[in-house]
């Protein structure tokens, strides 16, 4: 791989730059230092060697002067101490060698030193030093010294080694430092690069670089961010704009496209393409000529030609077919126009393609439908036509017209219609108008459709119904210029309509018919209309009696249908039995002869019917009777007529059945009505609101009215008008609604004249299917006399009780008091005498005392003394005390409000009711605790006696106990309301509510 510094990552680049710089600097310094070292070393060497030479020269001067070579050699030999000096030589002034010294390892020849001036030089890795030898002011010789540079080289080597080591150490430090320090520069740049990369990669222009410093990099980041911001904004604007376009392009059904002029590339196409062409946008992108390949082979050349020539001129507007991959064909309407650049040159083609398959299909369907309609119309025998109002002539008239009315198309005109028209019915919009009026309105455009059923006489004299249905034909301005319509033979339909009409009118007439005769007449009349007959009958059949009941029998007498008699209540004829057995029968002259029995003649017995039809009238499986129509002309009827007649019979069987049932019902009702009307007990039906729905005479009389009608008319509110105590009516309704029925409900009522009487009612409630109350019905009995007797009985009983009580109190008790007194005296006497009987006497006295107490209690129970003397309250207090004393149980009395009662009868009855209830509780319920409460609330005295006993049975049992009965009676006597209820917690509550007499009085006076 070729190394290219430029492509290195910035991190490496920085590191490398720093390292190279450091290396260069260090290398230079090292070289300088080494060089300096060398120079310094040489200088020192030269100086050292010169000093050495000086000494040698000094020492050699005398030997030279005295020509003592030995001494000279000795002097030179001293150089052995200097290892660097490898060679020394002394010369005489004439240049001859005087003495010489060589280190052992030196084998090199010294150069000739003659003529060399004093000094030194480096030569071939050696240092040479030259010096004159002076003696006594004159030169006596010269000296040459040669020193090698081994020491220097060793030094140098050490120096260089140190320098190299120092260099690498410094580079290492530089590397570490640079790695750290380069981040100051590289990190922000790399971050920036990363952000830029992310922006490119993700097209996300909302990313931002983080500015960390204020230097040029920070500035760069800032600029970069601003740039991104601008791009983002521009991008957002562009996107929004593009989004708008895209939404438009992608939501509408049309396909937008953009291409270059040469049609080699699709620049844009909206996604609607996929749905219409059935090919993906990717495919199209890969192969821009795909759309040409999709073209239907028949259209391809034409479309391509248009594409090449007309798109640039903007005239491209073609319809073509494309074939989708699944083989289906779509019709496309494609338009294109050139797009010009700023200079006005065409550089693109824009287009809109639309799927018009549905429209094409619709058009095709329309054509096809039109053809089908035409076929259908003509095939159905219908005659289409078109009429021009201006010329009042037919622009077109179907061939079928000749068959319809007998005139060929060219002859048909308004006049012909006038001539053959017999009757007509306007229908639809113009229903009810005359044909002239309707025609006028069609021409003026007031009505848009024309429907007319018209009966004509054809050229050959047949009567025929024709339906004429037409619609307006308007010109472009909307003006009515003519009409188009269809003529059709509807004779059959009219006939069917007539049947239906006849049947439906028959149905309504039958439902209105009250008698079988009426119904039969209608049926026969209908048969005459639909089929026609000369004679006919309807006979019913009574299965129970196996008798024929003739209803109507007609015959044609003197050209008129006349009602004739038929044998009444006769056994069914053989023909009737045959019909019962076999069903409908068509008899003509031939089949008549084959029948095994003769006919029962009716009407004009001289003539015999030639064609006859018999059909059974059935209701389900029941044979109700027989319908027959007959003609004197032979072969007058066919099977179709028989079917129609049977349909007629079936149609009216329901009505006949109903009539028969109604008749039976009426008879039954008459029986009951007799019972209802002649009953001695009152019978009623009343509404919950309080009106008499029905009442019999007995009831009306009971209330003092002449007739039930009079009573119903006068009594508007049973509760207010007839009840002495309206509460009783409410009680009555409550019981009915709760229990469904009520027996022996007794109440005091007002007669018409205001007099009072007692009635006992047995009643039940009648509800509809949903459970809502329809009315009450029941019977009433006048029980006034019985009540009167009962009252007398009670009064007698009360009187007897009082008398007995008084007798007990005044007679027996006084007598017992005296006896007790005597017994006490006796006891005292006996004790005084210290008799052994004194104890017994004392016992007697105590027993007598007890008897007195008992007798008094008894007397009080029988005759409430305090009631008369001290009033109701005291009497009640005494009653409670009395019960406590007599029965040794808890009985308390409480009162609230003013409970003083003026009417003695009322207080007596209330007292007795309380007494009876309490005693009942003791005797029948085994109560341990009895509460008697009396309160006066809103002018009503409430008396409540409750106990904790076993309770009474169902409320309906209450009539069984004489005590309850008497309580009821007493309550009734004073017009109070009595309720006996079982408590949930066990025990019984007897409630008696007495309304203040004044109020009752007031109500009564209002009524009278």
């Amino acid at each position: 791989m070729k190394f290219n510094f430029r492509n290195l990552p910035i991190r490496r680049k920085l590191t490398l730059i720093i390292l190279l710089t450091s290396f260069a600097a260090l290398a230079l310094v090292s070289v300088a230092m080494v060089t300096y070292e060398i120079l310094r070393f040489r200088h020192a060497l030269v100086r050292e060697l010169s000093t050495e030479a000086e000494i040698i020269a000094e020492n050699s001067a005398a030997p030279l002067a005295f020509v003592d070579t030995k001494a000279a050699r000795d002097t030179l030999r001293a150089l052995q101490a200097q290892p660097g000096i490898v060679h020394a030589r002394l010369f005489t002034p004439d240049g001859k060698t005087f003495a010489e010294y060589k280190s052992f390892d030196d084998e090199t020849e010294l150069p000739d030193l003659k003529g060399q001036p004093a000094g030194h030089r480096f030569e071939d890795g050696y240092l040479l030093v030259f010096r004159d030898v002076l003696f006594g002011g004159g030169v006596v010789g010269s000296l040459a010294l040669r020193s090698d540079l081994r020491e220097q080289n060793a030094w140098l080597q050490a120096d260089v080694s140190i320098a190299v080591v120092a260099l690498f150490a410094a580079l290492l430090v530089a590397l570490i430092l640079s790695l750290k320090l380069q981040q100051v520069i590289s990190t922000p740049i790399l971050e920036l690069a990363e952000v830029a990369h992310q922006v490119t990669l993700r097209k996300n222009y909302s990313l931002r670089a983080t500015k960390r410093s204020g230097d040029e990099i920070g500035l760069l980041m800032e600029e970069f961010n601003q740039m991104l911001e601008q791009i983002e904004k521009r991008d957002a604007d562009l996107r929004a704009s593009e989004e708008r376009f895209r939404q438009l392009a992608e939501t509408i059904r049309e396909v937008f496209w953009l291409s270059d002029i040469e049609k080699t590339k699709v620049i844009y196409i909206s996604p609607g393409f996929e749905a219409i062409w059935g090919r993906s946008l990717d495919e199209l992108e890969k192969s821009p000529r795909l759309w040409v390949e999709c073209l239907h082979s028949e259209d391809r050349d034409r479309v391509w030609d248009a594409v090449c020539t007309k798109q640039v001129t903007g005239e491209y507007d073609v319809e073509y077919r494309v074939i989708r991959p699944d083989g289906t064909v779509r019709w496309i309407h494609d338009r294109a126009f050139p797009v010009r650049d700023a200079a006005g040159a065409i550089y693109r083609i824009a287009g809109i393609a639309e799927d018009i398959t549905e429209r094409k299909r619709a058009e095709e369907n329309l054509r096809r439908t039109e053809w089908l309609y035409r076929q259908a119309i003509v095939g159905a025998g219908a005659v289409p036509y078109a009429r021009d109002f201006k010329s009042r002539s037919y622009l077109f008239m179907g061939e079928g017209i000749e068959q319809l009315i007998g005139y060929p198309p060219h002859e048909v005109s308004g006049d012909i219609w006038e001539k053959i028209k017999q009757e007509y019915v306007m229908l639809g919009e113009s229903a009810g108008w005359s044909i002239e009026e309707a025609g006028r309105r069609v021409i003026t455009g007031e009505v848009q459709t024309w429907r007319c059923d018209i009966r004509v006489l054809t050229r050959d004299g047949q009567s025929r119904w024709i339906s004429d249905v037409a619609v307006q034909n308007r010109d472009e301005s909307g003006k009515v210029i003519g009409s188009m319509g269809i003529l059709q033979d509807i004779t059959e339909r009219k006939l069917a309509e007539k049947k239906i009409l006849t049947f439906s009118s028959l149905a309504s007439r039958l439902s209105a018919a009250a008698t079988a005769e009426e119904a039969a007449a209608n049926i026969l009349e209908t048969a005459a209309e639909l089929i026609g007959w000369d004679c006919g009958f309807i006979h019913l059949y009574d299965r129970e009696l196996d008798r024929t009941v003739p209803v109507l029998t007609f015959d044609l007498i003197d050209g008129k249908r006349t009602l004739v008699s038929a044998p009444d209540n006769a056994k069914p004829s053989p023909m009737t039995r045959l019909i019962i057995e076999k069903g409908a029968l068509l008899v003509d002259a031939q089949s008549r002869a084959s029948l095994p029995f003769g006919f029962v003649p009716f009407g004009n017995k001289d003539r015999v019917s030639a064609s006859m039809m018999y059909v059974p009238i059935r209701q389900g499986e029941n044979f109700l009777g027989i319908l027959s129509i007959q003609r004197y002309s032979p072969d007058a009827y066919n099977q179709g007529n028989l079917d129609l007649l049977q349909a007629l019979a079936d149609h009216c069987s329901g009505a006949l059945q109903r009539i028969r049932a109604t008749k039976e019902l009426l008879e039954t009702e008459a029986k009951y009505r007799t019972i209802f009307e002649s009953a001695t007990e009152g019978i009623f039906q009343t509404s919950p609101e309080g009106k008499y729905l029905r009442a019999n005479l007995a009831l009306a009389r009971m209330f003092g009215y002449e007739s039930p009608a009079e009573m119903s008319a006068n009594v508007m509110d049973i509760e207010k008008q007839t009840y002495v105590l309206p509460e009783r009516r409410r009680e009555f309704k409550r019981l009915l609604e709760e229990q469904g029925e009520v027996h022996g409900f007794e109440a005091e009522r007002f007669r018409r004249d205001g007099s009072r009487f007692w009635i006992s009612v047995n009643a039940r409630v009648v509800r509809d299917n949903n459970g809502a109350i329809l009315y009450y019905e029941g019977t009433t009995r006048d029980v006034t006399s019985r009540r009167h007797l009962e009252k007398q009985l009670i009064e007698i009983s009360d009187r007897e009780q009082s008398r007995m009580g008084q007798d007990l109190h005044d007679g027996l008790c006084q007598h017992l008091v005296r006896t007790a007194f005597a017994a006490n005296l006796l006891e005292k006497d006996l004790s005084r005498q210290k008799s052994a009987f004194s104890d017994q006497a004392k016992k007697v006295a105590r027993l007598v005392d007890d008897s007195i107490t008992q007798a008094r209690n008894l007397a009080r129970g029988l005759y409430p003394v305090k009631l008369e003397s001290e009033g109701f309250h005291s009497a009640m207090v005494e009653l409670a005390a009395n019960i406590r004393a007599t029965y040794h149980l808890d009985c308390e009395f409480k009162s609230a409000g003013s409970i003083s009662i003026d009417d003695h009868a009322v207080s007596t009855h209330l007292y007795r009711i309380a007494q009876e209830a309490a005693i009942n509780a003791v005797k029948h319920s085994s109560a341990k605790k009895i509460q008697i409460r009396v309160s006066n609330v809103e002018e009503k005295i409430h008396l409540v006696v409750s106990d904790d006993g076993v309770g009474i049975g169902a409320p309906s049992d209450r009539g069984n106990g004489m005590g309850l009965h008497i309580m009821n009676y007493r309550a009734g006597m004073i017009g109070a309301e009595l309720k006996v209820e079982a408590q949930k917690s066990g025990g019984t509550i007897v409630t008696c509510i007495f309304e203040h007499p004044n109020r009752t009085e007031k109500i009564r006076s209002e009524k009278t």
């Binding site: 005398a62 030997p63 005295f66 020509v67 002034p93 006594g136």
Partner: protein, 182 residues
């Protein structure tokens, strides 16, 4: 032959005169020796009457040098003093002399001469056998064609002369300084 070679060498350097070719080459060297001795010897201040008094080299007896001596000394100085050559016939003639070459002709009365000169700062040099044992300072002797000398340091001390160590080192009887240390 060695001394011959040396004589050639010396003759060249001392720019000897052709007329001195009668003088034995041996004395040319000895004349140079005399100068060398003077250079390497320090006289006491009493030996000179005034600072710039030239150094006198005297020859006593029969002069073997001829003109060689003058030629050798011409233009040279010793310790900044010019050199004067003096020739003496008798010892009594000697007044101001610093270096005295006693010719071999005086061999018989050498001891007398030396006695007469005793105490005077005069460097005495002679070829007379065993000269230094007789009270002289430097005995020049020929040895294997080379001219060597012996020095009597006590005689030098008596004459109040300081001889350079370099001179002493070159004397035959002197232990070489560099070996003395061994």
């Amino acid at each position: 032959m060695r001394w011959l070679w040396l004589a050639i060498f010396l003759g060249a350097s001392f720019s000897s005169v052709a007329e001195d070719t009668l003088v034995a080459p041996e004395y040319k060297i000895k004349a140079a020796f005399l100068y060398n001795f003077a250079v390497l010897t320090e006289w006491p201040d009493t030996a000179f009457d005034f600072p710039k008094q030239p150094l006198t080299i005297g020859v006593l007896g029969k002069d073997p040098f001829g003109r060689t001596l003058e030629k050798t000394m011409r233009g040279k100085t010793v310790h900044g003093r010019k050199i004067e050559i003096a020739r003496y016939k008798t010892v009594e003639q000697i007044e101001h002399c610093h270096l005295l070459f006693i010719s071999s002709s005086e061999e018989k009365q050498v001891e007398e001469i030396l006695t007469r000169l005793a105490g005077r700062p005069i460097l005495t040099v002679s070829e007379i056998d065993r000269f230094n044992y007789k009270g002289g300072v430097i005995w020049l002797q020929k040895q294997e064609d080379q001219i060597k000398f012996r020095i009597r340091r006590s005689a030098a001390r008596k004459a109040k002369l300081k001889l350079s160590s370099r001179l002493l080192a070159l004397a035959i009887n002197a232990t070489p300084p560099n070996r003395a240390g061994k």
